[in-house]
């Protein structure tokens, strides 16, 4: 009677290859970050000087603030717009699901370049066809008192659009994973109305999906360059570009700074998932699903 240990010889080979590739990929991803950090810190004037320069630059604070505000606004608008709609469609209008799928996939066919071009043309130039198609809303928005062309407000809306696939998909997946219709019926039978059910019953149960959507929107908006640049708005990535063209060392330090910023946001969001309603003690992986 021999004492044995678990052996899985056949699987070891494929495991080894994948672990190796994973390791190589991680190294590949860390190298430029390391190089950037080294480059930034190797400024002739010294580490502290570079950072002191950065932190004393009023533009830095102004652009960071603007980017944070825009990102927060986009995240909130995106989630508030999409989550109730996804719930509504799931519950009451399943026929509209293909339409939702279509609308949330368009951003893949209309990346930032094209979207910014389109938005500038829609709200910057008078156009009869558009006036008709938009039920008269476009001229309302293009002119006073709204005048939204090239404004931060329009930028926020653009950010929501480009994040749309990454907001709708995780939330829809979450709705499918939990027994949405049964939970709703139970809540209704106890006297809860639509909004109360949504806020107190559904949202706590799709929390990981909501957080995943928020995470992706926030990080997309923080790093978005194209639309901001074509709108002429001075956000942090623009600041990064302008500074970088002039001072390579500062640019490198700023890149690492922005990486750390996004890292903090990701950690904060992981924290929020763990501490979300009803999740105390529940171990769960982050449901980051860009697609089905």
């Amino acid at each position: 009677m021999a004492v044995t240990t678990e052996t899985r010889p056949a699987r070891r080979l494929s495991f080894g290859l994948n672990r190796l590739v994973l390791l190589l990929v991680i190294i590949y991803l860390l190298l430029p970050l390391g190089a950037t950090l080294a480059f930034g810190l190797s400024s002739p004037a010294g580490i502290l000087y570079t950072f002191q320069q950065i932190f004393s630059d009023p533009d830095f604070w102004q652009t960071i603030q603007l980017s944070l505000v825009l990102s927060l606004a986009s995240t909130l608008l995106g989630v508030i717009l999409v989550a109730p709609t996804a719930y509504w469609v799931h519950l009451r209008l399943p026929k509209a699901r293909p339409l939702m799928d279509f609308l949330t996939l368009i951003p893949f066919a209309m990346p930032a370049v094209i979207l910014s071009l389109g938005l500038v043309e829609v709200y910057g130039t008078p156009n009869n066809l558009l006036n008709v198609l938009s039920f008269g809303l476009v001229p309302v928005l293009s002119n006073d008192p709204f005048n939204i062309v090239d404004t931060p407000q329009l930028l926020v809306c653009a950010y929501v659009i480009i994040s749309l696939p990454f907001v709708y998909r995780p939330i829809e997946n979450s709705l499918r994973a939990i027994n949405t219709s049964t939970l709703t019926e139970a809540a209704y039978s106890l006297g809860s109305g639509w909004w109360r059910t949504f806020l107190t019953v559904i949202v706590p149960n799709i929390w990981p999906g909501v957080i995943s959507a928020a995470l992706l929107t926030f990080s997309t908006a923080m790093g978005e360059f194209t639309i901001a640049s074509l709108f002429g708005l001075y956000t942090f990535p623009i600041y990064l570009d302008v500074t970088g063209q002039n001072d390579a060392h500062k640019a490198a330090s700023l890149s690492v700074l922005s990486f750390i910023l996004t890292l903090l946001c990701v950690l904060a969001i992981i924290f929020l998932v763990r501490r979300g309603p009803g999740r105390a003690g529940k171990e769960g992986d982050i449901e980051i699903a860009a697609s089905k």
Binding site: M1, A2, V3, T4, T5, E6, T7, A10
Partner: protein, 363 residues
């Protein structure tokens, strides 16, 4: 040496209590053996060790004389049927069945022929071209069975194959499985927590609890002569009397204020604590003042206890009475429904049962 021999099998996962403790099991060729027990009793772990998906921490497994304890799962001549069917979704039913044969490089014609035979065997002759998602649960499980049989295994392993199916399908399919097993004279090990299933189709049942085999016997024996408390209570319902054996030779047992006549128990001695078990269907009911029909001829040597009916439940072919005998004791009596008429809740009744119906277990 039995066909499949498990010797001293123990399985420990990490630092937790052992899932399987020192089990010896000898399975005869062509036998249908069921591992029966609640969740966590180790039955699935044991099956997976036979299949090769887990390795025993201590112990050995041998098949037909050969030691296979350390052989890879893919090299063992076993066929396995899973609870979740595990059919490959991208292959048709026929391709699923052919999978094992293709690995063995059987010729295309032979594969086609055998697939047709197996589809006929499981009663799905026309479904070869369908994909798993186009088949019902019961049909999928039949294909899974055919797939396992296709590689001509020496032992067929079934891991709770019917748990995911509807009640009616379960009954038909379990009879199918038994029929096929007998037809092919295949050795089979079947895992389930459903005691009705186990009783219905097994040659022998191994009742398991907490990693050990409590009793290994034919179904009738397991049912009528349970050897341990667990076996008695897990399989079927039972009335239990705790007490002391006052006389082994005369067969007298004292439980509280009741004196019961029980069969002679040579394995115990006078004064031993014991547990006496009586199956509900062995109890007959009569009204307390002596009138009314009984289903056993009253005679002096029968045990008799009076009580009040607490609950009467009509279960179709028979009616179940919960009878309160005293504060601590509630007895269950199953009476054929025709004879149960006229007895209602609140009524005082007399329950009688023969001494031979009592099973005496040392406490």
């Amino acid at each position: 040496m039995a066909f499949l021999q498990l010797a001293g099998i123990t399985k420990q996962f990490g630092r937790a209590a052992p899932a399987v403790k020192n089990i010896d099991l000898a399975v005869e060729k062509g036998e249908f053996l069921t591992l029966l027990g609640p969740s966590g009793c180790g039955k699935t772990t044991l099956l997976r060790m036979v299949a090769g998906f887990e390795t025993p921490t201590i112990g050995s497994i041998s098949l037909d004389g050969e030691d296979i304890t350390h052989r890879q799962a893919s090299k063992r001549p076993m066929g396995m049927v899973f609870q979740s069917y595990a059919l490959f979704p991208h292959l048709t039913a026929e391709q699923n069945i052919a999978f094992g044969m293709r690995i063995k490089r059987v010729s295309a014609e032979a594969i086609k022929k055998r697939c047709a035979e197996l589809l006929e065997l499981v009663g799905l002759g026309e479904m070869g071209r369908r994909y798993p998602h186009q088949l019902s649960g019961g049909q999928q499980q039949r294909i899974a069975l055919a797939r396992a049989l296709a590689v001509e295994p020496k032992v067929l392993l079934l891991d709770e194959p019917l748990s995911a199916l509807d009640a009616k399908v379960r009954v038909t399919l379990r009879n199918e499985i038994r029929r096929i097993q007998q037809q092919l004279k295949m050795t089979a090990i079947y895992v389930t927590h459903d005691q009705e299933e186990a009783l219905a189709i097994s040659d022998r049942i191994a009742v398991m609890s907490k990693g050990k085999i409590e009793q290994l016997d034919q179904p009738e024996e397991v049912y009528s002569n349970p050897r341990t408390t667990f076996a008695a209570t897990f399989v079927g319902t039972s009335n239990q009397f705790n007490g002391v054996l006052t006389s082994v030779t005369d067969g007298l047992f004292q439980s509280g204020k009741h004196t019961l006549r029980v069969p002679a128990s040579p394995h115990l001695k006078d004064g031993d604590s014991a547990l006496v078990i009586v199956r509900p269907e062995e109890l007959s009911i009569a009204s307390a003042n002596g009138n009314g029909a009984t289903n056993h001829n009253g005679n002096g040597t029968h045990n008799s206890i009076t009580g009040t009916i607490d609950l009467r439940t009509f279960l179709g072919p028979f009616t179940r009475f919960h009878v309160r005998v005293d504060d601590a004791t509630l007895l269950t009596a199953d009476v054929p429904s025709q004879q149960a008429r006229g007895y209602d809740a609140g009524q005082e009744v007399k329950l009688s049962f023969a001494p031979e119906a009592c099973q005496v277990l040392g406490a």
